[in-house]
């Protein structure tokens, strides 16, 4: 089968010797885009460039990046803050880690250009605790930049000054939600804020703030260097049938894991199908087995069935098969031996553990969903539980409008997709494991969690 590998841009330096040093980065043309921007473009023009590239945020929500920058108040006396989201905790996702470990200067160049465009003079890079190598590589890259006046006061003789500070997280998924991140940065519990006000108006330390993902700013580096036309030459144009689709342009780092022969991070133009990713990049499903289901973009996005593997992994197509969206473009493959009951138990366990507890529908909904899955796995499941689970799935989240942040939607989608797409399997499992009680509809006691952890 032909492997449609296009030129790697985001991953071009990965695997090269000492790719994380300034020397290696500059030898491969690094900091050229930034120099060009500083010399030739105003901040407004830089924002305009990113806007016209069609770049959409890579952190999960897919919001147009340049447009987000224009929401900052005009002529603000400052300070304006940039928060770089490197909390990367969505199960299945690891592309930010690879960029930071192997090519931190590519990330820093993107941050500098983004701060120049938004007139932010301080950037906080919020890095999850579990990435110690990223921390070391980023910190030494930042030190190199200060030594060469790529950071600090009057960068390269310009009017523009910028500091970048690393800030370490403490093992909580919710710190990746942009306002949870801001609260955590401020030294508080990471309770997401009610929006509006959006961070662009009132964010970190009550000042205008932009939050962007690591891969998003890495794309900014290449847009500055190679231009808007190059970026738009890849991907999928807006769907004429969906007035809300802004298109899916540019290269994307797809993470592939689970039951495939070659798990890894692969760069491809936005819009390859899940099947192409599995077969042509990942070497197919492992052990010569068939695929059964796949998570399309991190566990929050729900489930694709095997026939749905032909869906394009872009910002628009996944919604058409009932998934929440592209998310982080992290595909996790399950082979035919996997029980969807086990999958859903794992998903519910994750969200119960990570709910910040602030909104009752999310805190109680995720906890009860896990209790029901525990009961099911203990052979005490009832058919009624499937309806109760769906009731939770349909009623928690910002889409139904009952919670403050999108974690609850992420908890709901795997429940809704798993039960609606695999209902027969759930019913068979419940009848088989609970032959005497599956039809009971009276309240039954919850069980303590069965597994030791």
């Amino acid at each position: 089968m032909p492997v449609p590998k296009s030129e790697s841009v985001l991953l071009a330096n990965v695997g090269k010797s000492e790719s994380w040093t300034l020397r290696a980065y500059e030898a491969s043309g690094g900091y050229k885009g930034m120099r060009k921007v500083f010399k030739e473009m105003s901040p407004v023009e830089t924002t305009e460039m990113v806007k016209s590239s069609g770049l959409r945020g890579r952190g999960g929500a897919g919001f147009p990046t340049g447009l987000k920058w224009t929401f900052l108040p005009k002529d603000h006396p400052g300070p304006i803050y940039m928060c770089i989201n490197a909390d990367e905790s969505e199960p299945g996702t690891f592309n930010n880690r690879i960029l930071m470990e192997d090519d931190p200067h590519q990330v820093l160049e993107g941050i500098i250009i983004s701060c120049y465009a938004t007139k932010a003079t301080t950037a906080y890079l919020y890095l999850r605790y579990e990435y110690p190598l990223c921390w070391d590589r980023l910190q030494s890259a930042i030190d190199e930049c200060y030594a060469k006046n790529l950071l600090g006061k009057n960068i390269l003789g310009s009017e523009f000054s910028l500091d970048i500070f690393l800030h370490k997280g403490a093992a909580a998924y919710i710190c990746g939600e942009e306002t949870g991140l801001i609260e955590s940065l401020e030294g508080k519990r990471a309770w997401p804020r009610i929006k509006p006000p959006f961070p662009a108006v009132e964010g970190a330390f009550r000042k205008p703030t932009v939050v962007n993902n690591i891969e998003t700013v890495a794309c900014v580096t290449h847009i500055a260097n190679r231009g808007v036309d190059w970026f738009k030459s890849m991907g999928v144009p807006p769907d004429p049938k969906n007035p809300r689709d802004a298109g899916s342009y540019g290269p994307k780092l797809y993470c592939l894991s689970g039951h495939v022969n070659q798990p890894g991070c692969y760069e491809a133009p936005l819009g390859i199908t899940c099947r192409e990713l599995i077969d042509e990049f990942g070497g197919g499903v492992w052990k010569n087995r068939k695929g059964k289901a796949a998570i399309p973009g991190g566990i929050s996005m729900g489930l694709l069935t095997e026939p749905e593997f032909d869906t394009k992994l872009d910002f628009n197509a996944l919604g058409k098969v009932g998934c929440l969206g592209l998310g982080t473009a992290a595909v996790v493959v399950m082979d035919e031996t996997v029980s969807i009951v086990d999958f859903l138990h794992n998903s519910c366990r994750f969200f119960q553990h990570e709910s910040c507890g602030q909104c009752t529908p999310c805190r109680e909904g995720t906890a009860w969903a896990l209790r029901m899955l525990n009961r099911m796995k203990a052979g005490k499941g009832r058919l009624k539980d499937l309806d109760l689970l769906l009731e939770i799935g349909d009623s928690i989240g910002i889409i139904p409008g009952t919670t403050i942040c999108g974690l609850a939607d992420g908890a709901a989608w795997p429940i809704k997709n798993a039960i609606r797409k695999f209902r027969g399997e759930f019913e068979d499992y419940i009848k088989r494991t609970n032959p005497n009680g599956y039809a009971v509809t009276e309240p039954v006691p919850a069980l303590v969690e069965l597994q030791t952890h």
């Binding site: 199960p91 299945g92 579990e130 997280g169 508080k188 991070c265 566990i299 794992n346 952890h453």
Partner: protein
């Protein structure tokens, strides 16, 4: 009267204070301060909370409130010399992550969250470590252990407990 022994050393205090210029508020130094203390003491006792709060001009309850939100900082005595997190999220679970954690716990004679009696090792579960291409995996202090098997998990235990 004998002055009560401080928990924070002069070095810790200097390290914390050096971060003040980075942020517009002292409260923003809460997590960094907790990390600084935790790295050295392998836990953050209540006395440390009071001292951090004084440095950051906060009420101790504010610092404690933040600490209690995160799963990171223990307060009931130090964790082991090695603190190991075994991933239980989906990509690792599909390749045996839960079983690896059970296997490690069984051989170390502890439950997740506990520390071996000699203080060598604390075992915990983690949610996705962001290394799913190496599933099942584990982060032990600063080291990522990739593609774990029962054998490599046992070898890890042997090495840690021999120290």
């Amino acid at each position: 009267m004998i002055a009560k022994q401080r928990v924070l050393t002069d070095e810790m205090i200097a390290e914390i204070k050096a971060l003040f210029p980075r942020y517009p508020t002292k409260q923003a130094v809460t997590l960094p301060a907790l990390h600084i203390v935790n790295e050295k003491l392998r836990n953050v006792p209540l006395e440390a909370i009071v001292e951090i709060a004084a440095l950051l001009e906060l009420a101790p309850a504010q610092v404690q409130d933040t600490l209690s939100f995160y799963g990171m900082f223990k307060q009931n005595g130090p964790h082991g010399k090695v603190r190991a997190w075994v991933c239980r999220s989906i990509s690792c679970a599909l390749r045996g992550g839960d079983e690896i954690l059970n296997h490690l716990c069984h051989h170390a004679g502890i439950k997740p969250g506990e520390t071996t009696v000699n203080g060598a090792l604390t075992l915990e579960f983690a949610e996705c470590l962001g290394a799913c291409e190496y599933a099942p995996c584990m982060l032990a202090n600063q080291t990522l252990h990739k593609n774990l098997t029962n054998e490599s998990a046992e070898a890890f235990l042997k090495e840690v407990t021999a120290k």
